[in-house]
Symmetry: C3
Subunit: 457 residues, 3 copies
């Protein structure tokens, strides 16, 4: 065991210790439970005002908390099937840290009153949404950053993601309950930019293909992941759109989109890959894409066939993206995308935002009925026309892309700082202490010595 390895191990340990002590101190000074029964210190901002303030809201709270961690873990399970169980420990570390940090940062913006942050089930759900964005970003860089860098990435991304969400939802009044922009698009492009900045030419496509060919065992994980997503994700949608009856349609739209994008895989996969039926991992990717596209549009679609068409097209686009766009991304733009987050979160998120804009334009009090109040409160109150709202929805897309890429660049630059890279890449490869995760967590017979998370810059 070389000294380098020991130092690197202890650095992660020390960083975790410092961060956790810091979090405990900040929580001790700042965070309190919001008094129940009372309406709660909710500032007159959109995120609160959109939910019905009366006691009817009390009820879904437990349910809220129940599904709180589902989103993040859905992503986690999904990535496991692409990258193997070796990534699980780091992902859980990221989740554990990000949830705490997001409760603090989001509390500052949303639940701050008289010098204290008042947390409740709602803040946990918000924190989890933010954690989901971080996990999407890690999907782009898995295998090329070490745990210490991952923690810093989470630290920075949670902050930037919260700022982006605050600008979009609260300042601009954008309707994006399922997070097409705030989660999927932001997370994907943030991760891709970090990946671009950390680009190393000699770690090329060969490795990714090896991983994807691990075959059998990954297929079992992909089956579990797909079933998990089918069961839990649509219900998740009903959490953030917790209106009295309106959630109904968001859930159904999500299901229809899911089903159609799954069919798409079976259409394109035999054409693109010379296989009789698609692999489970491709079905899982299509499922995720079908879910991501319904993030914004889910509560705006008024007919089931709209969801079918959206899911169908996004399934085709996501499959085509994996076949034709990911190689271009890598060879031309020098962006490596370990888990293909551009195809399963980035593109579907952007398409979802465009679809949402289109649907906003078509929204009338006539077709929406009482749902207008729930989906577009500012339009229903008359303080904004439908065209204004559509323009704002549309302008939120370039803004999110800008913030995500800018934030990704900065984060990537920070992660490149010498002291964070444990050692030169050449040494790393010889260094057993740094690859333990990979070696333990993965099939020893597969000879995947180089897949480790810690095979570093």
């Amino acid at each position: 065991m070389s000294e380098h390895a020991t130092a690197s191990r202890l650095r992660l340990s020390g960083l975790c210790f410092l961060l956790q002590i810091l979090l405990i101190l900040l929580f001790a000074v700042l965070v309190r439970y919001s008094p129940e029964g009372s309406p709660g210190p909710c500032p007159p901002q959109l995120n609160c005002s959109r939910r019905s303030p009366d006691s009817a809201f009390q009820q879904p709270r437990i349910q809220d908390v129940h599904v709180q961690v589902l989103l993040s873990f859905g992503l986690l399970v999904a990535f496991l099937s692409r990258y193997g169980p070796g990534s699980a420990a780091i992902s859980i570390l990221i989740t554990a840290f990000s949830i705490q940090w997001a409760v603090l940062i989001q509390g500052m913006l949303y639940f701050f009153l008289n010098g204290k942050i008042y947390v409740g089930a709602r803040s946990m759900v918000s924190a989890d949404l933010c954690t989901a964005a971080v996990l999407i970003s890690t999907g782009a860089v898995l295998g090329r950053v070490n745990p210490v860098q991952m923690l810093l990435l989470a630290l920075l991304e949670v902050t930037l993601c919260t700022v982006n969400e605050y600008i979009l939802l609260t300042l601009m009044g954008v309707s994006d309950s399922g997070g097409s922009l705030t989660i999927h698009t932001f997370g994907a492009y943030f991760g891709l930019m970090v990946s671009r900045v950390l680009y190393l030419p000699h770690k090329n496509k060969r490795k990714r293909e090896e991983q994807q060919d691990k075959g059998h065992q990954m297929d079992v994980l992909a089956v579990v992941g797909t079933i998990y997503l089918w069961i839990f994700w649509p219900s998740f949608t009903s959490t953030t759109t917790a209106h009295h009856n309106a959630e109904n349609w968001a859930v159904l739209n999500t299901y229809f989109s899911l089903v159609a994008s799954t069919m798409s895989t079976f259409i394109l996969s035999p054409v693109l890959y010379e296989e009789g039926t698609p692999r489970m991992v491709q079905i899982q990717d299509a499922t995720l894409a079908g879910l991501a596209v319904m993030g914004m549009a889910g509560e705006m679609l008024l007919t089931p066939f709209g969801a079918l068409i959206a899911g169908f097209l996004v399934g085709l686009i996501s499959s085509l993206g994996f076949r034709f766009f990911t190689p271009v991304l890598h060879s031309r733009l020098k962006i490596q995308d370990t888990c293909g987050v551009h195809n399963i979160h980035g593109l579907p998120g952007v398409l979802g935002a465009l679809l949402g804009t289109l649907l906003t334009l078509l929204a009338t009090a006539d077709t929406f009925g009482y749902r207008l109040e729930l989906v577009f409160p500012l339009v229903a109150q008359g303080s904004r026309t439908v065209t204004d709202q559509a323009f704002i929805q549309l302008s939120a897309l370039p803004l999110t892309l800008l913030l995500a890429t800018l934030g990704g660049c900065i984060t990537g630059a920070v992660l490149k700082i010498k002291v964070l890279r444990c050692c030169p890449a050449a040494q790393c490869r010889e260094n057993p202490g740094l690859r333990e995760v990979a070696e333990e967590g993965s099939d020893p017979s597969a000879g995947d010595k180089e897949l480790g998370i810690s095979t570093l810059v």
Copy 2:
């Protein structure tokens, strides 16, 4: 890659494309969301009238949708442990197609008004029940039909299953909330008849035994499947029997039946198989049998020990069926039953229907109290005597068996059409393109080259 393989691959792709486009068009023309808040266009049929029409029903809707896909995926997981992850992709294709198709077909019968089908959470739950029947049928023929044939099987079975359900529940007024007849019995005997018609003498028992002996990895899947069934299935029962308080007993009865049938496995397995303890796959089968027997009787049983006895006996019968009846089925009746659906769905379903008939005979306003209104609305309203109801419950059994076997014969005959079989069996075996699913999805070391879904007629 031979031309045959390419043709077969593209045929599946093309069929999926055509079906999905057709579905989108039909949805665009016919399907709309049912207007919320209003009582909904519910025709004066039993299936609607049994549920309380007032606003109290609005509430469980989200929960309904939450568990909507659980039933199907429970079966899916269960079959994975018998057949391996290679079957997962096809099963998910079948699920994705059947749900859409069932929404249309069932909508025609149940939710049709003024030329439009009005869908909601309820129609999704019904569609999923139908999908469950299709998945049960596929369990009997897994490994002997190709994906194109599977899709046609789903197309025909969804239609026939809906007709059977409509006749039983709406026209005859049978009480079968958990689907002992409409799901388990219909699905099992339909699949067995298809299997009979597609019988090929040279694909014999040897293969099935190989599969069952895959051992370890299948055991892990069986553990996951069993836990999944224990956790989610009893709650599923409460969805379809969404009365105010009555669901309580259905859930408890299902649990007690489950527990007792599990004990049965531990009693018979050491006697039948010379093993110290049963394998996980046997425990999972007993669990499913214990659940299937409570489909009809679950809400009629008034004492916990009744559920214990029913579960205990059905557990014993299911174990005996695997040991003694499945071989007879194969050698004498020439019916191959890949996943043993006759023992885990067919027999328990029939026994459940008989038990339900018996319990109907014993039902009095005295013992049932206000539950009579919920379980047997026609009896409670005085338009039918208990004896009449019992006779109708009983006569639903041969009717379901008749429709299932007839439908299975027709479907099997359709699937035998030359053009659907991609190629003669001899060629198939040489054809790598057709076996990719199997080879990727299953343990390469197990040498199960012949287990592929696409090793065709």
Copy 3:
């Protein structure tokens, strides 16, 4: 197949048969469903009176039943990752038997009226809590007792655990809704004492280490187990503390404790084990420890940072326990602890009880508000001072430890009876019939011939 093996196999079969018939008879004579709608035959005991008696309680019932089996299976999944799927069949047998037996025994104490036990969703939840304690105990002795002994252990422990719970909750009025004492502490120390009594010097540490090094496949199970615990356990807490709003904080406290104890693992593991990141199984253990410590204190903690500190410390202690205390336990006290239940249930349970005592001392009507009524009904009613309550909470700890160790000793002595050991250990090793579970259930290539459940005393 030797005669011994056949005899041992049939003995399990016969015992299961006898027990199940006995249970059916007892259920037939004693158990009825509690009439719904009516307040139910609830004796004026604490366990009932603490829950709001009005109709508001009716609603969470289905939810109650939904999560009923979650706790047990959470533990089951957790142990699988330490011991492998070979243990699953026995664990499910134990669960199936314990639930029925606990419904009877607990019904005698809590739901007995006019010679009948009236069961409902509540009794199923209580029965499942008891089953959880039994599964914790089996975690200490897995691999060293045969199935027949396991069944007897369950028979005795359910009885003693119910008596302990009755004394604590009903007679003494201790507040322990999450079961820090009644489940975690009792189960852990009971199992450890059984392990001590059954100690065999030649089955030493070597074997345990082999098991822990199974590596890869266990890691997949640990990932699934950890995600399962994160998702379902905190919701479980809300079941037993089904007050109108108070559950909110118990859930949030559990989450914060979980998150902090996970961070602890990442701090200590690199220091203790010379690994870059902890293994998934260590993360899972920390998760369980973080959950166990919140059993009693979850509903008493009024600030989030309290939960963070508690989780942080218990995560550190649990990690240190695995490294330093388990070897001492084995070498000095001759207690083998297969799954490390002392570190993940025993110690955290004791610490949770101490924390609960401290928090009880600090409880005032001022800080608790209306929650005082819910958490400490006797204090709120004025029949007890806070100091009295704290003293009683504290004295419940040695009482539970006494009952658990005493019960464990007696049970261990019973299990040592000659007739229960199928054969001398030497013969056992030659006896193929007795090791089938192990050989089938586990990876044949791992050479773990000696890990079988039935490798007997």
